[in-house]
Each structure stands twice: as C-alpha cells, then as structure tokens.
C-alpha cells in the first residue's frame, strides 16, 4: 500500500493517553490510564477480562466519551476541542472525520451483513472519502488479495467463516488508510483452528509499519510481534515495557500470576 498518511511533523508520538478516567454507571472502569504509543510502534494490551482494555479502545476513537484525562492522536484531541478556554465535545461530523484515521477491528468482526466482502471494503473509501470508483475497486481487490480473501470477494459475511470475516474486517479498516489500527480481541471469538490465519494477517500489517494497538490474550503473538506490552488490571496500568521483558520477566506480581495462568 502506498504511504498516503500525512507526514507527522511535531513529535513521533501517534497516540497519547493521559490520566484517562471512565465510569460506566457506578463502575469506575478506567482509573487514570497513561499510555503512549509512538509512530510505527506495536503495543499489545494484556489483562484479565473486566480490566478496562476494550473500554480504553472505545474511548480512543470516542465511541465512548471519557470522564477525565486526555486522549490525543498525532497531537490532536479526539472528540473534544477547547474554545475560548472552555472544553467542548466536538460535533458528530468532526468526530467522524477524526475517526477516519483510526482503524478498528472488533472481536465480533461486525462486517456489514447486507454487503459482500468487496462492498464492505469499498464502502469507506467510496462513500465516506468519496474516492472515484475505479481506484477504490482496484485498492479493495488488492487489500482482499493481501488478506487472502480475493476469491471470496462476492461472498456475504454469513457465508464466511469467522476467520475469513475477521480478515475482511481488517481489509475494511485498512482501506481507509488509517494512521493507527486498533484490534479489540480480534481472535477471541474464533475457533482455535482459525486463530492462526487472523494472527498471520495482523503480523503482515505490522510488518508494513502500521502503528498498532492490540488488545489480545494471544501471548505468543505479543511476544513475536509487539514492541511493547502493557498489562492492565482493574482499570489501571500495572506494567508497561518492552514485550519480551514484560512477558518473560514480569516485575509486577499481578502480571506474573496472570501470565502463569494464561500459559
């Protein structure tokens, strides 16, 4: 894929999460989370269920608003703006525009059920970015080929296996040429036999230099592909460091117990 993402001028920080708090009802889900992701970096977030990992991803692209702290993509706040000293939530259209540069891959794929695989991939660039049809079709077919789904381009999601659906979903997100890709437990809903093909596709995306934030339980993937691993528990970051260090020599006791149980 050609590198059309604009050159980042200021810093090489792609994502900065600073003291983020989030309440869901009475539940304090995120209790002051700080994470920084540099451009091109691949960060895996591990942690037990209910530790707030998925909520954090939803906050990053403002699917859920935060209750405290700031989240910035390439130096710009997502979902909020300051005007004459006051903080405002941005208008829908502005948020939508900001989200275009953040690709999201879901646990349950969420492919559009009334569209073929190809239409799922072309929808964003054609209908949202308004690119010309010919160009969109060509890139979409390229992307489908890349995720190994070229021969199923005309299939509907219901005719595809979970692994195939997830690969199409990755292609759909890539088609928007995002600066940052987020994966929310992309293999958790898959049959064990199908996990490998999705991880292979993600590995491929990683090799092309995409900045990635991956919430996963796949320790093997984290060890092989991630630059850094963040361990979260009960809404807090307990450990954050180079992947192998955190995985092989965890310094926090909770991380160690978790890794021992998962292995």
């Amino acid at each position: 894929m050609e590198a059309t993402a604009p050159v980042i001028t200021k810093a090489d920080t792609m994502l900065r999460i600073d003291g983020v708090h989030k309440w869901l009802g009475d539940n304090h889900v995120l209790k002051g989370v700080d994470i920084e992701v540099r451009t091109g970096e691949i960060v895996c977030i591990l942690g037990p269920s209910g530790s707030g990992k998925s909520t954090l991803l939803r906050c990053i692209n403002h699917l859920d608003p935060v209750d405290g702290g700031t989240i910035e993509i390439a130096g710009e706040r997502v979902g909020y703006e300051t005007r004459s000293g006051h903080l405002y939530e941005q208008r829908e259209r502005q948020v939508a525009k900001a989200r275009q540069q953040i690709g999201m891959v879901f646990q349950h794929f969420n492919l559009f059920g009334h569209m073929t695989a190809l239409e799922n991939v072309t929808y964003g660039p054609a209908k949202i970015l308004g690119r010309p049809r010919k160009q969109v079709l060509a890139t979409a077919r390229e992307l489908l080929a890349k995720v190994g789904m070229a021969d199923r381009a005309e299939a509907y999601p219901s005719q595809l296996s979970g692994g195939q659906q997830q690969r199409v979903a990755i292609a759909r997100a890539l088609a928007m040429e995002p600066r940052l890709m987020m994966f929310d437990e992309p293999t958790s809903a898959l049959d064990p036999e199908l996990v490998g093909e999705v991880l292979a596709t993600m590995r491929q995306v990683a090799e092309e230099g995409m900045t990635m934030v991956v919430v996963t339980h796949e320790i093997g993937f984290a060890r092989e592909v991630a630059d850094r691993v963040v361990f979260m528990d009960q809404g807090r970051v307990l450990e954050d460091g180079p992947a192998r260090e955190v995985l092989d020599d965890p310094r926090h006791e909770r991380t160690a117990t978790f890794l021992r149980r998962v292995r």
């Binding site: 939508a96 879901f106 009334h114």
Partner: protein, 330 residues
C-alpha cells in the same frame, strides 16, 4: 495421509472398552442401511371425534340458516358484483394501500427521531406514538372528519369541501397506523446488533448516517412480516370509514341495504369481499416473507444454498435508492 489399507467390510468395534483407542482407517464403513424405518401411526380417535363434532355443528348451522327468509342468498348473488359494490371494493383497496404507504413513510421518520440522540426529536417522536397509537382509530376518523368545527377554513378554502369522507378517513388511518408502524420499525432497528453501528461509526460515519445507511437496510427483514400483518389489519380497518360515509365497501353495502332493507344479504356480500381481499393479502405476505427470509444473507436458508444470495440486497437497494455507487455524497 492414511497409507494402511484395511480390508473392506471390517467395521469399528461395536463398543469401545475402557482405555481402547479407535482410529478410523480408509475402508472402514458403517453398515449399510437396509430398509428405511417405517413406524405406523396409531389411529387418532380424538381427531376423528373432533371432525365429526365439527361437521355436525356446521350442518346444524347451515340447515337452520339455509331456509331463513331473512337470509336471501339470491340477493347476495345479485349484489356480489354490483357496480356500486365493486367500486366500493376499489375504494377500500385504495384506502388501505395509500394509508399503509403514508403510514410507513411517517413511521420511518418517527422511528428515526425516537432513536436519535437529539433529545427533543426523541421526545416528540415518543409523544407522537403515544397519541396516535393511544386514540382509537374510530375516534380519529371522527376527529378528522369534524375538523371543520375547529378550523372552518384551511388556506382560505372551506374545510368541509377540502376534506371529504375519503380524505378524512385516509388521514385518520394513516396517522393511527403510523403510530404502530413506528414501533415496528423501531423494533427492526433495535434488532440489528449494536456492533453494526460501532463499525459504521469507526469507519467515519456519523451516528445518523450509520443508522440510515447501515442499520435500516438490515432491519427491513425484521420489519416486513409484521408490516404484512398490519396491512391485513388495515384492509379491515378501512371499514371504520363507513361512519363518515367514506364510500368504501361497507359504506356501499350499507347504502344499498338502507334502501332495500336486505341487511344480512348485503353484509354477507361485504364479508365475502373482505375475506377475498384478506386472502389475497395473506398470499402476498407469504411470498414477500419467503423472498425476504430465504434470500437474506444471514438467514438459515441462505447458508444452506450458499450459491445465490443477494436478491434481498437487490430488493433493499431498490428501496434505499439504487446501487452503492449512485449515492455518492459530497
């Protein structure tokens, strides 16, 4: 690959003992089925008794009414295809179809308003449903017909000439129905998993766009069957218009028996025509449902014959305004 070839006919042991380990080899085939199992049904005495009872009851009723002087079958036959009645049937069909179409259009707007994040729109939508679903259709028919009392003129014209029995009935039926349809469409919207909206929004749609372009097309399948039911209800509800002389089927029947006093024979004419209309509508509904269910990608049937889905998608497309490429915006 299995290289070891087993002599044919040797089959797996009937039961595996504890600790044994069966591995299927090429040539292991289960015993052929010799004859299909045929179990005989026991005679259902209950069914036979019920049938006899029903036949006897029906026979008694027919016998008692066939010779009833008030039940003049010749008159029924005479008026069944009377031009006045046929015209009434046409008006009833028009009324039902138009009211249904108008109510669906209104209901889409109301359902989207209720689901929107705009709190005022949502409250207004709920109020709309509350009122138009809450007031009986018959009362609404009378209300619209007597609008002239409140507004003697509309846009400088006499209200009573502007709003005939037909138009008053059409307004009333459409509005009352739209209250129900809005809830049906809202149910359809809610039946589409929230993940679809999440995915659309993550791609860069606004919530409203995701609702209209991603969720609504997928909710059609859920909306169609109850809409068929509502239409059948609507065919019958048109008879309410007779209270304001809406020139529909029942009005015409009443008009005729008002002159010749053959009340029951003419009501039977109405009964027969309503049954014909409802039967046709039911058959239509059956095919519509079949088309929308079977071909919809995602349904059980579609999985079976994985070959050609998409007819629904085409149907949806023609409903949502053409092919993917046509609606390019901005």
């Amino acid at each position: 690959m299995m290289t070891e070839v087993h002599s044919a006919g040797q089959s797996q042991p009937a039961a595996l003992g504890v600790g044994s380990h069966y591995v299927r080899r090429a040539g292991d085939e289960p015993a052929m089925q010799e004859a299909p199992l045929r179990a005989r049904h026991r005679l259902g005495y209950g069914q036979i008794l019920a049938l006899i009872a029903a036949l006897v009851a029906f026979g008694i009723f027919v016998r008692s009414q066939a010779g009833n002087p008030n039940m003049d079958w010749n008159v029924t036959g005479e008026y069944l295809f009377h031009p006045l009645i046929l015209n009434g049937v046409a008006v009833t069909i028009q009324l039902a179809v138009l009211a249904m179409l108008i109510s669906i259009v209104l209901a889409f707007g109301v359902a989207v308003a209720i689901q929107s994040t705009n709190k005022v729109a949502s409250a207004l939508g709920r109020a709309y449903v509350w009122f138009f679903r809450g007031v009986p259709m018959l009362v609404q028919v009378l209300l619209w017909y007597n609008l002239a009392v409140l507004f003697p003129t509309i846009l400088g014209r006499d209200t009573n000439t502007l709003i005939s029995g037909f138009t008053a009935g059409l307004f009333a039926l459409s509005l009352a129905e739209s209250g129900y349809m809005a809830e049906i469409i809202r149910g359809g919207i809610l039946s589409v998993p929230a993940g679809q909206t999440d995915a659309g929004v993550s791609l860069g749609l606004t919530r409203g766009q995701a609702l209209r372009r991603i969720v609504l097309p997928q909710s059609i399948r859920v909306i169609i069957p109850p809409t068929g039911n509502q239409f059948i209800g609507m065919l019958k509800a048109t008879s309410l218009v007779s209270v304001i002389g809406g020139s529909d089927l029942l009005t015409r029947a009443q008009l005729i028996y008002g002159q010749n006093f053959k009340i029951l024979p003419l009501l039977v004419v109405a009964v027969l025509w309503y049954l014909v209309l409802v039967t046709i509508a039911s058959i239509g509904q059956y095919f519509l449902e079949k088309r929308f269910n079977n071909s919809q990608p995602g349904s059980r049937q579609a999985r079976k014959g994985a070959g050609t889905p998409g007819t629904t998608t085409t149907a949806i497309r023609s409903m949502t305004g053409g092919a993917l490429w046509k609606r390019q915006r901005r």
